[in-house]
Amino acid sequence: MILTLSEAISEFVHNGDSVAMEGFTHLIPFTAGDEIIRQGLRDLTLIRMTPDLIYDRLIGAGCASKLIFSWGGNPGVGSLHRFRDAIQNSWPRPLEIEEHTHAGFANRYLAGASGLPFAILRGYQGSDLLEHTQNVKLIECPFTGERLAAVRAINPDVTIIHAQQADREGNVLLWGITGIQKEAALAAKRVIVTVEEIVDSFEPKMNSTIIPAFVISAICVSPGGSRPSYALDYYERDNDAYIAWNTISKERDTFTEWLQREVLMGQKGPVS
C-alpha cells in the first residue's frame, strides 16, 4: 500500500507505541523520524541499536519516554547531547533506558522475527550490564550444562526502515549494509518502509535483501529519506552534518532553534 509519509505515520504510529527505526549507520530513516516529531507523538518507547542523530532529535523533541539501545553515540564524532541531557537531567522529560549489547540486541530482534519468546547467546556475562538491564537471564544448556544468556524477544508495535527501492507490487529491495532491518521489520506488528524510488523490477545486487510486500503495512516514496546518513548508490553520508550536530545539539537553545527551523517549520532535509 503506497501512502504519503504523513498518512503512514498518522495511520500506523500512535502515542505510547514501541517504535523501532533501524538502519545501522546506513539507510537510517531520518525523514520518517522528523515526521513523527512534526505529528507531535508522545510517550514512545524508542527502540534502536544505535540511537544516532535520528533519536537524538526525537528525544530532544520530547517524543520518547523510554529508549532501548546498545550504543548511544554520534558515530565518529562523540556524544549524543540530547540523549545525555535526557538521561542525566530529564530534559525535556525523564527518559527511562534499557541498555543492551549489540549482540544481545540483534538476538532480541532475531527472536522477535522468528516467533520465539527468547533467543540465546554467549554474551553479557562478565559485564556489569547484566545487573543493570532488563530482559536478560542466564539459562543452562540442557545438553552441556553451560550457562548462556537468554534475551527476551522484542516485537515493536511498529518498525520503520528506509530502503533504496520498492517495486510496483510493494516488495522492497535494500543492499549494502543491511544491518538488522529485515529482523526488525519481521519482528514488528506493523511495518513502514520509506524508499528512494519505485522501480519496475529489481536488478541483482551484491549483498541485497528483499522484504516481500505481504509483511509491509505501507510504502512511502521519500527520496533522500535517510539523509544525513547515506543510501548506497544514491548519495553519500554527510559527515559534515554529523560533525555539525555536535555543535547544534550541545545546548538546549541551539537545538530548539534548529528543531523549530529545520523540522517543525516543515523545512525538513539534511543539516547543512
Binding site: F24, T25, H26, M49, T50, F69, S70, W71, G72, G73, P75, G76, V77, S79, L80, F83, R84, I87, Q88, E99, H100, T101, H102, A103, G104, A106, N107, Y109, L110, L121, R122, G123, Y124, Q125, G126, S127, D128, L129, H132, E146, R147, L148, G176, I177, T178, G179, I180, K182, E183, M206, N207, T209, Y230, L232, E236, R237, N239, D240, Y242, I243
Partner: protein
C-alpha cells in the same frame, strides 16, 4: 609529506607511536574485528604496510573489507563497497564473532583496570545517575568475550588506568585467573594493551597487566605516573622501534582528509 622524507630527524606524536605499535601487532594471517577510531586506523595502516592480506571485519557486517581511507563510522559506504561480502547483524555476531572465527578484537576503552576490564558505559558511581554517560557496550562486550584474543588500544593516564573502574562493560580477566572460565567466555582475553606509553601484557599466572615494552623517549617513571595502580614492569622491558618513515607517511596520509574536515 616530502619534507618528512628529506628531514633527518623524524618526529612523531605519542598517538602516532601508539597507532603504529598496534598496526605492527597484526599479521597477514590474522582476522581482526575492528572498532572505529584509532583501532580502525591501526588496522588499515597494517594492511597498507606489512600485512596486506590481513582480514578486516567490522561489526556492521562487512567481512574482508579493504578501505583505502579512514571510515568515519563503522558502517561507511567505503567499508561495504570494498568488502568481500556484507552480512546481517545477527549473522556477524552469531556466525562470525560468537563462533570464535575472529582471531583479534581491537578495542578502545574509556577506563581500564589492571585485569584488562574495560568501561565504556558511565563515569561516576551510579548507573542510574551517572556523572558522564558514555555510549555503552556496542559490540565490545561480546568482542571481548569471543575473539581468540583482544588488543586494547588507549591512551595511558591516571584518569583511564584505574585500580577500580566505574563500570565493567567488557570483561578482560574479571577478578583474575578463572574468571573468564566462570563467565563462560570462550576467547582467551586481552593479549596486550597498547598505549602511548608502551605495551602491557597480562602475567600468565596472575593475569595482571605488566609493562613489557616502552616506547622510545618514554621513561619508566612516566609509565608508573600514568597508571592508577601500582604498575609492574617486566624484567625484560623492551623498547619499541620508532615509527619508520613509511609508517608515518601512510598514517599521516590516512589521517589527513579526516583532520582537514574537523
Amino acid at each position: 609529506m616530502s619534507n618528512l622524507l628529506e628531514s633527518k630527524e623524524v618526529l612523531w606524536s605519542a598517538d602516532e607511536m601508539m597507532t603504529v605499535s598496534a598496526a605492527r601487532s597484526l599479521t597477514n594471517s590474522d582476522t581482526c574485528f575492528v572498532g572505529i577510531g584509532i583501532p580502525s586506523t591501526a588496522a588499515i595502516l597494517a594492511k597498507a604496510t606489512h600485512a596486506p592480506r590481513l582480514t578486516l571485519i567490522y561489526e556492521s557486517g562487512t567481512i574482508d573489507t579493504n578501505p583505502t581511507r579512514l571510515p568515519l563510522s563503522i558502517g561507511d559506504g567505503e567499508l561495504a563497497q570494498t568488502a568481500l561480502t556484507v552480512v546481517s547483524l545477527p549473522e556477524i555476531f552469531n556466525y562470525w564473532l560468537q563462533a570464535g572465527r575472529i582471531k583479534i578484537g581491537f578495542l578502545g576503552a574509556a577506563q581500564i583496570d589492571k585485569f584488562g576490564n574495560i568501561n565504556t558505559t558511565i563515569i561516576g558511581s551510579s548507573y542510574d545517575n551517572p556523572k558522564v554517560r558514555l555510549p555503552g557496550a556496542g559490540g565490545a562486550t561480546e568482542i571481548a568475550g569471543a575473539c581468540v584474543n583482544t588488543t586494547i588500544i588507549c591512551r595511558q593516564s591516571t584518569r583511564t588506568f584505574l585500580e577500580k573502574i566505574d563500570f565493567i562493560t567488557s570483561c578482560g580477566f574479571g577478578s583474575g585467573p578463572g574468571s573468564r572460565h566462570a563467565f563462560g567466555l570462550t576467547g582467551n582475553g586481552p593479549k596486550n594493551v597498547i598505549t602511548d606509553i608502551g605495551i602491557l601484557e597480562p602475567d600468565p599466572e596472575t593475569c595482571e597487566l605488566v609493562l613489557t615494552q616502552i616506547h622510545e623517549n618514554v621513561t619508566r617513571e612516566q609509565a608508573v605516573e600514568s597508571t592508577g595502580w601500582n604498575l609492574k614492569i617486566s624484567d625484560n622491558l623492551k623498547v619499541t622501534q620508532p615509527p619508520t618513515i613509511q609508517e608515518l607517511q601512510i598514517l599521516r596520509a590516512l589521517n589527513a582528509p579526516a583532520e582537514s574536515k574537523q
